[in-house]
Symmetry: C2
Subunit: 117 residues, 2 copies
Amino acid sequence: MSIKHFDQIPATSIPTGEGVSRKMLIGPDEGPNFAMRAFKIEAGGSMPMHTNDVEHQQYVLGGRAKVVIGGETHEVSKGDVVFIPALVPHNYEPIGDEPFEFICVVPNLPDETKLVK
Amino acid sequence: MSIKHFDQIPATSIPTGEGVSRKMLIGPDEGPNFAMRAFKIEAGGSMPMHTNDVEHQQYVLGGRAKVVIGGETHEVSKGDVVFIPALVPHNYEPIGDEPFEFICVVPNLPDETKLVK
């Protein structure tokens, strides 16, 4: 078992995006079936349109963003719960001056982030 | 894909505990590998010592609680990330006047909550 505080977990820059970083809250080394991560996208940053080979289960911790999922545009903010099935194109663009932060849980299965033009 | 707001998801009482309710944020009908739930334990309530057949990956949304996991007592609050392996006895007892709220992700595998005396 483990207990860690969010603020003590190191963040890693994600070069696929602009101003995007990730914290591995509970990694595949610890969880046998899935991993809990947290992403932060700075104001003015973005994560471009891409697909993953695995589904995402997300909970928005703070900030606001325009997200396009499967060709539909939505605005999400704190408390929104988002399910993105495997292989569905999606992107993120923060709105306003605050960073956009969300939890994102993925299964421990092979995954590749593929940019969509 | 789906987007829902936390406040719009109905809560179900969990009779194993006192003052415990659960929201199914993303259920096994939607997620192929795991389910994202949120639990709320009212001030003065508790969830008694029990085991589950599956692991828990948790993120504390608010409030404070005394939790005993595998015989060790901890205090947790907003931003704490908790991993409880399968079959490890655990309980929850809120501290103070606020409800204790946390996200809890579990795999889509058979599970039984067994009380520990």
